[in-house]
């Protein structure tokens, strides 16, 4: 650029009080490449902007430096003014003479000289600016939601209700997730299924939602607005179109003693089964691992009884590909099983159960029809001990974090127990009671004060079985001066830690999203971008980020949905062109990129792809890096990493930054 205009703003007296603006303009006029320089009282005012526009036209300027307030303030204003005068807005740079100079220094020669230096630096930078055009990326107006728990259901419904199509993928035979397993929910004690199942049905019936259950995401390619997801539809061995859901097969299946997942092993199911009565879709699948026919080659009872001939033993897994513009990951979490805890008997004691098992016992649809009965002998336990923080907040167990929901559900469990077993005694061992949330603290107080739950502050050292077969819980009461206490129990309920799902890491790698050391998915920013990932276009909701309760899960789901909707409401994504670019040049070099691809790991956004450069015969000459402008966020880490300087970043290019640094030190 050879004709730079420099415009020095007084900002009323904000700049001119300590900086001699006229002198800065004068010095700028002398700088190489500067064709016009002036100062003015308020550059950002309409007359000020008009002055810039007029100068651009009159002097045919091909670059502009405005010395004014911080670019974080008025860069858009001045760039717009330039654009209005026909100058590419990216040929305008802002010299920060206010926040970085006039406001922080006293009036004097040094302050004015510094202002001149700053302007000099940016004049040299802008002389090397390139005209840029915003990047447009088309958007596929369809979303993929992975996980059909309450988070996925909520997100899918929110997006679908905005008129966008949604693919909802659930790996189990039914949607519903953990929430479908719960009895009643804190702090209102309303029935979980009563509030959930209508939503499940809504999902199934929504014209904008395509539901794939018993399905998993196989791979994801592409980038924001343009993902391509391959989904594996696991063979259900039941033709869904023919099946009417009559349930006859499940009553006839000879294999009836399979521990049911939905009931957390406390109840049984058949090999051809519907996980629970309100399942959506309410059609059975055959669990091949337990099916006599698949395992031994004989049986086919279900086939014989099926009135519609829906059983299809030879059905293979199917793969379908969906193009989507956005992805919401709502794969949830799981709780640790009792077998994780040696001190509580490694799961050997049948009456030591997890909180989620207790939910099934307390649930009206559960194996005991909502009566609290011991798994071992079916009797009603008279003494129940609840142990909070099982695994959580225990660095020794590798889980230093708080699982967040346990304090509340333990209080709920104790309360439910007291409501159902009026002469029962319940004791809760806790470390701290964390009941932050609307009506939460009141809820816990109610358990203690109205339902007379015995809260003991202390860790439980061990649970053991006495010779007489009674369970004994040994712990300390720290409020009694770390006194050892031993409590007999008919049943022990462990509030085991919420942890990431087993396949979380693998899924994160498929999606190229980051995860924390516990394999929970990482948000782009913990405060300001809590439902986004670092990969543009992929969002998070619910307990796959960290254990969350239902309200928080639903809130994040709606938040993620809002992000998706705002993305899908655009035909094109328009992005700042300040992105990295891998150079291309004439043959025989094609690009100075040597294709080591070490930059790929430097990129937090997976924006660096491989491109094969081919000759006319289609033979690969070399493989070089290419930046996907849809994914690149413009941090420039790859630029300073690239050994051969084959990557550069627009707007902060090597040449620009080099020139600016040198120019700042120009005066002697």
């Amino acid at each position: 650029m050879s004709k730079i205009g420099v415009f020095i703003c007084h900002c009323g007296e904000n700049i001119s009080a300590t900086v001699d603006c006229a002198r800065v303009a004068q010095a700028a006029a002398e700088m190489e490449g500067v064709a016009y320089a002036t100062d003015y009282k308020y550059m950002c005012s309409e007359p000020g902007q008009q002055l810039i526009r007029q100068a651009i036209r009159e002097h045919n300027l091909d670059g502009v430096v405005v010395g004014s307030c911080s670019p974080r303030m008025h860069e858009p204003t001045f760039r717009r003014a330039c654009a209005e005068a026909g100058l590419n807005p990216y040929l305008c740079e802002i010299a920060n003479l206010r926040e970085h100079c006039s406001w922080v220094h006293e009036k004097g020669e040094a302050t004015t000289q510094k202002a001149i230096d700053i302007v000099q630096g940016l004049v040299e930078k802008v002389r090397r600016n390139q005209p840029l055009t915003p990047i447009r990326v088309p958007v596929t107006k369809k979303a993929l939601v992975i996980g059909g728990g309450i988070a996925g259901i909520q997100a899918a419904l929110d997006i679908a209700n905005c008129g966008h199509r949604v693919i909802l993928v659930e790996k189990e035979p039914s949607i519903g997730g953990h929430m479908a397993q719960l009895s009643e929910t804190f702090p209102t004690l309303d029935c979980s299924q009563c509030i959930l199942t209508p939503r499940m049905v809504e999902v199934a019936q929504h014209p904008n939602i395509t539901l794939y259950t018993y399905a998993e995401v196989e791979s994801v390619e592409g980038f924001i607005g343009n993902f391509k997801a391959t989904i594996r539809l696991k063979a259900k061995s039941v033709d869904e179109k023919k099946c009417t859901g009559c349930g006859l097969c499940t009553t006839k299946c000879p294999n009836k003693k399979i521990p049911g997942e939905f009931n957390e092993g406390l109840g049984t199911r058949t090999a051809i089964y519907v996980p629970f009565p309100q399942a959506v879709p309410n059609k059975p699948v055959i669990d091949k691992e337990h099916c006599n026919y698949y395992q031994k080659g004989k049986c086919r009872v279900c086939e014989k009884f099926c009135p519609t001939g829906a059983i299809t033993f030879d059905q293979p897994d199917q793969f379908i590909t969906e193009e989507v513009g956005a992805i919401v990951v709502t794969t949830g979490f799981r709780v640790l099983p009792t077998s994780f805890f040696p001190e509580y008997g490694y799961g050997r004691y049948k009456d030591v159960i997890t909180g989620i098992q207790f939910e099934r016992l307390a649930s009206a649809s559960g194996p005991t029809m909502g009566e609290i009965r011991r798994p071992s002998d079916g009797t009603v336990p008279k003494k129940v001990v609840f142990i909070a923080c099982c695994g959580s907040r225990d660095p020794a167990k590798g889980i230093p974090y708080c699982s967040k929901i346990c304090c509340m559900y333990t209080a709920k469990h104790a309360m439910l127990y007291q409501h159902k077993v009026h002469d029962g005694e319940s004791t809760v061992f806790y470390m701290d009671i964390r009941a932050g949330g609307k009506n939460y603290e009141e809820f816990v107080r109610r358990a203690i004060e109205e339902d007379k739950v015995n809260y003991v502050r202390g860790r439980v050292a061990r649970v053991y079985e006495r010779a007489d077969g009674k369970l004994v819980v040994r712990g300390v009461d720290t409020l009694l001066g770390a006194q050892q206490v031993e409590i007999e129990a008919d049943m022990v309920v462990l509030a085991t830690a919420g942890v990431a799902n087993p396949g979380a890491e693998e899924l994160a790698q498929k999606l190229h999203i980051s995860y924390d050391p516990y394999h929970f998915f990482a948000e782009a920013h913990p405060k300001l971008r809590p439902v986004e990932t670092n990969t543009a276009g992929i969002y998070l909701a619910g307990a796959c980020q960290a254990p969350k309760d239902i309200p928080e899960t639903v809130a994040t789901a709606s938040g993620a949905a809002a992000k998706v909707v705002s993305l899908l409401s655009q035909d094109d994504l328009v992005r700042e062109p300040l992105v990295a670019v891998v150079n291309r040049c004439a043959p025989p070099v094609y690009s100075t990129c040597v294709g080591c691809f070490l930059c790929q790991t430097a990129c937090p956004y997976q924006a660096i792809e491989r491109e094969e450069i081919k000759d006319r015969q289609g033979r690969v000459i070399k493989t070089v890096a290419k930046v996907n402008p849809g994914l690149c966020q413009g941090c420039g880490t790859c630029v300073s990493f690239c050994r051969s300087k084959a990557i550069d970043i627009q707007g902060y290019s090597n040449e620009q930054m080099y020139a600016e640094v040198n120019a700042l030190l120009n005066h002697e």
């Binding site: 190489e32 040049c585 004439a586 043959p587 025989p588 070099v589 040198n662 120019a663 030190l665």
Partner: protein
């Protein structure tokens, strides 16, 4: 010019006088077992006279690895230029160069003056006095006698010193610059006779010189090269070449250079610096097209330039047989071996 004799033991005294006269003296210095030309300030710094060669040649005295061509200053739209002053080039003595170093200045001067006169080089050369010492030993890489030089050859020397077995050294002064240097220590020298081919002094000098039978002749090489452009020999010989510039930079006759800018804001300098035809980018066009696209073509250029093109255009051979390139080559490209094989083809 006159000839003198000086005792071996007085050579240091003479050098001391030269240093005391304010000359910059560059001499072989041994550091960590390797000997190269370095500026010295006392005769004690000079390496023992038992090595064949320094790593680099003496060409840097007149053709430094980087030098200022001119400087500029920009003020507003105006530019003013300033030239180096020849007086700023130090009066330099290259002490204990070898005859092959001295011989190198003939082709260098030819390159720098065959058409336009390169007055920067000329001014530096005019301020350089070469005190060469005849070679009393040669190694496997030496082949000066095959390219027209010799261990006691005076061509290009300002002074040639030959240490004689007698304990005296024969000092043959070849130029006025040399005479001026001898004049700095008149007391140390005794006059000697002219060294005619049949004189006893000549015989004594010959007896003190390294024995190095010629392996081929320049003419042989040139004749073979005339037909060799498309020969497979270039690829064969250059296969292991790494494409570095070591051979060119230690060579006493390589003069390829680059012109570069040294900007310091509004002022700066234009610099000339060594370059090498072995570098892939040396001839590459901005478009990416490269007239010499492979190391084989670049190796061919190096040999043809020195042994065919230069003799034809400049009447000079671009090689003094010093063997430095072979010693410096990281992959043992042996010029003598390669030339011999060409000459035998």
């Amino acid at each position: 010019m006159k000839n003198y004799q000086i005792k071996h033991s007085d050579l240091d005294g003479w050098l001391e006088k030269i240093i005391a006269a304010g000359r910059r003296v560059i001499a072989p210095v041994t550091e960590e077992g390797h000997t190269d030309f370095r500026p010295i300030h006392s005769p004690a710094e000079v390496a023992a006279d038992d090595q064949v060669q320094t790593i680099q040649s003496a060409k840097q005295a007149a053709f430094p690895k980087a030098e200022t061509l001119f400087s500029y200053r920009k003020e507003g739209t105006a530019v003013s230029l300033d030239q180096p002053a020849p007086e700023s080039y130090l009066q330099t003595v290259v002490w204990r160069a070898r005859p092959c170093d001295a011989a190198g200045f003939t082709p260098l001067s030819a390159i720098f003056n065959w058409d336009y006169k390169d007055n920067l080089y000329n001014a530096r050369l005019a301020r350089t006095t070469l005190v060469a010492f005849s070679c009393q030993q040669a190694d496997a890489y030496c082949f000066c006698t095959s390219v027209g030089g010799g261990p006691g050859e005076k061509k290009g020397c300002d002074i040639l010193v030959t240490k004689l077995p007698s304990g005296k050294a024969l000092v043959e002064v070849c130029t006025e610059k040399g005479e001026a240097l001898a004049a700095l220590a008149p007391g140390l020298f005794s006059e000697a006779n002219a060294v005619a081919d049949d004189s006893p002094l000549f015989a004594e000098k010959q007896s003190a010189l390294a024995q190095l039978p010629a392996r081929f002749s320049k003419e042989d090489i040139r004749r073979h090269l005339a037909e060799a452009f498309d020969s497979p020999v270039w690829r064969e010989q250059s296969e292991r070449c790494l494409g570095c510039g070591a051979c060119a930079f230690v060579c006493p006759t390589c003069a390829c250079f680059d012109i570069q800018e040294d900007p310091h804001g509004s002022h700066g300098r234009r610099i000339r610096c060594w370059d090498s035809c072995a570098f892939a980018l040396f001839t590459q066009h901005t478009s990416g097209h490269n007239p010499r696209p492979s190391q084989a073509t670049r190796w061919r250029q190096r040999i043809l330039h020195k042994f065919s093109y230069m003799p034809e255009r400049l009447d000079a051979t671009g090689c003094t047989g010093c063997g430095r390139c072979s010693r410096a080559c990281p992959v043992d490209m042996n010029l003598l071996e390669h030339l011999t094989s060409i000459a035998q083809k």
